[in-house]
């Protein structure tokens, strides 16, 4: 009995401690036999998650890394004889004439999207925070872009922005302006996909900022109004600083989402004309599946570069969250 107890404390876990409190005398082989399955039960609970992570995260990621360090052709993809090629694919990708446009477009697309989505989302959140009739209904209506399938919204945008038959150009012509080739001119293609993406991203920012506003204590505003602060001062001195934590998280989540945006651009412009709206996500798909010859290895290299950037932002997000918990 003594021996049994010491072994219990050695690998003592919560179960052991709970039964221990019930009385050391009763902790006999019966508890031991109950403990063994409890380990198994714990693993059984873990197994789905572990399996899920392995199958849907670890394996694809590992495969992607493997693809990018080998020289895969269609034939070697099938018989598995691709040669190890080190960083060749990465060098090829970085020296490609598409690299610079893809990099700048990805940066412009991400940062301009976030800047507009965030500021418009915040402005709308502040607007809807003032209680007025139908505020809740209107706020719900603003969620529509988020609820629509991306395929639908992107197709509708592409249709509205069509050079010949789009409603936007028809409106411009009624105002006596010239037709703008929104999707087919190198100057406007990126702007067009940006407009669509900003529209789609506003609800996400609106919802998060609105919930952030609710967490600001009302007394602060009362104190400010007693001190005679103007509305502008209230926003910049109270609302904005107190929203900092939620703003930071919204922006970081937005960054990770926007970096990998694929559907909207692919449906609207396919990254074209030429490379004028190509981003890393589009480039990777074009290399792998878009063109006449599948370049699976360089495509994987581009995807990995994108994952690295997203991972870096993800780390910043986790750090920031930790700091907020400590606050």
């Amino acid at each position: 009995m003594r021996i049994a107890k010491t072994t219990n404390t050695v690998d003592g876990d919560d179960v052991g401690r709970v039964t221990g409190q019930a009385g050391p005398v009763t902790r006999t082989p019966r508890t031991r036999s109950a403990r063994l399955p409890s380990h198994l039960v714990a693993w059984a609970f873990l197994a789905p998650v572990v399996l899920y992570l392995a199958v849907f995260y670890a394996y694809p990621l590992g495969r992607n890394v493997d693809l990018s360090f080998r020289d895969y052709t269609l034939r070697s993809f099938i018989d598995g004889t691709a040669k190890f090629s080190g960083f060749d694919n990465y060098v090829e990708v970085i020296h490609s004439p598409t690299f610079v446009p893809a990099l700048t477009n990805t940066a412009v697309f991400t940062f301009v999207s976030i800047a507009f989505q965030f500021s418009i989302g915040l402005a709308l959140a502040v607007f809807f925070f003032k209680k007025f009739p139908l505020a809740a209904t209107l706020r719900a209506l603003f969620l529509v872009p988020w609820l629509l399938p991306l395929l639908v919204s992107a197709s509708v945008w592409a249709w509205m922005l069509n050079s010949e038959s789009g409603i936007v150009n028809s409106g411009l012509e009624h105002l006596g302006m010239h037709q703008i080739n929104w999707l087919t001119s190198p100057q406007w293609a990126l702007v067009s996909v940006l407009i669509a993406n900003i529209w789609i991203g506003i609800p996400f920012n609106l919802v998060l900022m609105y919930s952030g506003l609710q967490s600001i204590p009302g007394e602060v505003y009362e104190a400010a109004s007693l001190d005679g602060a103007s509305k502008w001062q209230v926003f910049w001195r109270i609302t904005f600083p107190l929203l900092r934590p939620v703003s930071a998280i919204t922006i970081l989540l937005g960054l990770v989402y926007t970096l990998k945006v694929f559907d909207i651009i692919w449906i609207m412009t396919r990254g074209g004309p030429g490379n004028s709206s190509v981003t890393f996500a589009i480039w990777s798909y074009r290399l792998g599946f878009g063109g006449g010859s599948p370049d699976l290895s360089p495509a994987a290299a581009v995807a990995n570069l994108l994952i690295l950037v997203a991972f870096a932002f993800g780390l910043v997000y986790i750090r920031m969250q930790r700091r907020l918990v400590e606050l």
Binding site: L74, R75, P149, A158, S215
Partner: protein, 418 residues
């Protein structure tokens, strides 16, 4: 401050979850059209066939033609339809479990054959002797034949007689690039629109450009030749001078046809598969002219019926019989609106004035040339990608025609040297 932060984290997590769910559902939505995995159950005589016609349902003439062959051979054929753009991807990922028969767009046959996915006629016992040589050559790689065309289609220049008459254009005067441009100018001067085509940044764009490219005397092995630049300059000037709409940069052949159907356009370059529609509307069609007269060779379109590699090689005999059933005569081709692959079949179609296979299209197909011809084989895909990229760059005004093609040739050289 603790509760707000906790709430904040929950909201953030929810948002993250919602975002992920959105991504997943977006993925599943885009893959619904790709072919499902093949069931290669040998028992019961069930054979699988993959085709790229998801819009042809079980009651379509095509499905009926397959069923007729199944009944004739006393087997069951399980048909699976996927998106034509995903064929190579689908077959590659199914490498260990390939269907008995796969229908593949003709320029992709050499790519798949090179990957070792397809059997040769010598291996599967297919008889290809009656197939027209110019159509069949897309399936020939290093002297081996990797499949049989189910039929062929090609491109022509449709015109709207009402628009031309109002503009004072006689179609008989359209004989070369210059007279066509002059006709377009007259049409535009009369207040209508000139010509619509598809210059989209995909294989479809290259397919549409090739009659002009070959018609100018250019060669796919040298994208930056003067003749090639002249061909691209023709299209670029049409768009720049308003003879063709800017939307050609995004038009598929389907949306281009929709533009032509508005009745505002004088001309449209499009495929034999719209002949039925043209008949209804009383629109005419001519072959694309060459740069200084004659007719330009148009590319052949249409799928090949191939027999992918199987572990159980005894299945090939029946698979070959299915292929022969679908290609003999003109049943399969007529069902798809193609010109039959055998000259006997094509003559029968012409005699019956089948839409898309009337005497005009039978002649056009016999003048046409496969895209992988001139011994391009697997290089065609690489060249085509650079050609449509150059087209997009030139027509959008991002680059001049000659700069765009020079950049394209450099990219081709870099890829082929690897």
């Amino acid at each position: 401050m603790k509760t707000p932060n906790k709430r904040l984290r929950i909201v953030a997590l929810l948002a993250l979850g919602a975002g992920l769910a959105g991504t997943l559902s977006a993925c599943s939505a885009s893959t619904t059209t790709s072919a499902a995995s093949a069931t290669t159950a040998a028992a019961g005589g069930t054979y699988t066939l993959w085709d790229p016609y998801p819009n042809r349902d079980a009651t379509s003439t095509w499905a009926v033609a397959i069923d007729a062959c199944a009944t004739q051979l006393g087997i069951t054929i399980k048909r699976n339809s996927g998106n034509t753009g995903d064929t190579v991807k689908d077959l590659t990922t199914a490498a260990s479990n390939l269907p008995d028969i796969a229908m593949v767009d003709n320029p992709k046959v050499s790519t798949l054959a090179d990957a070792g996915l397809l059997t040769t006629a010598a291996e599967n016992g297919l008889d290809v002797s009656s197939i027209s040589a110019n159509i069949l050559s897309a399936g020939v790689l290093n002297g081996e034949t990797y499949g049989v065309p189910v039929g062929a289609n090609t491109l022509g220049l449709y015109y709207n007689p009402t628009v031309l008459a109002a503009a004072g254009v006689d179609i008989a005067t359209v004989k070369d690039f210059a007279s066509l441009t002059a006709a377009l100018q007259k049409v535009v001067a009369s207040g209508k629109k000139g010509i619509t085509f598809s210059a989209v940044g995909t294989e479809e764009g290259t397919f549409q450009f090739l009659p002009w490219f070959w018609g100018a005397g250019a060669d796919l092995t040298k994208l930056d030749s003067d003749k090639s630049i002249a061909a691209l300059q023709l299209w670029t000037d049409w768009v720049k001078n308003g003879l063709a709409p800017n939307s050609v940069l995004q038009n598929t052949q389907g949306t281009s046809w929709d533009e032509f159907k508005t009745g505002d356009y004088g001309f449209a370059e499009n495929g034999s598969w719209f002949q039925g529609d043209a008949d209804t509307n009383k629109w005419g069609v001519i072959q694309v002219p060459g740069v200084s007269g004659g007719t330009a060779p148009a590319p052949t379109g249409g799928e090949f019926i191939t027999i992918p590699v199987q572990k159980d090689t005894s299945r090939y005999a029946t698979s070959a019989k299915i292929v022969e059933c679908l290609t003999n005569g003109s049943a399969g081709a007529t069902a798809l609106g193609y010109v039959a692959p055998t000259s006997a079949g094509a003559q029968a179609q012409a005699a019956a004035t089948t839409a898309g296979a009337n005497a005009f299209w039978v002649k056009a197909v016999s003048d046409a040339k496969p895209r992988t011809a001139d011994n391009l084989g697997t290089n065609y895909g690489i060249i085509s990608e650079q050609l449509y990229t150059a087209m997009q760059n030139a027509l959008s005004g991002a680059m001049s025609a000659s700069d765009a093609l020079k950049a394209g040739q450099i990219a081709v050289d870099a890829k082929l040297k690897k």
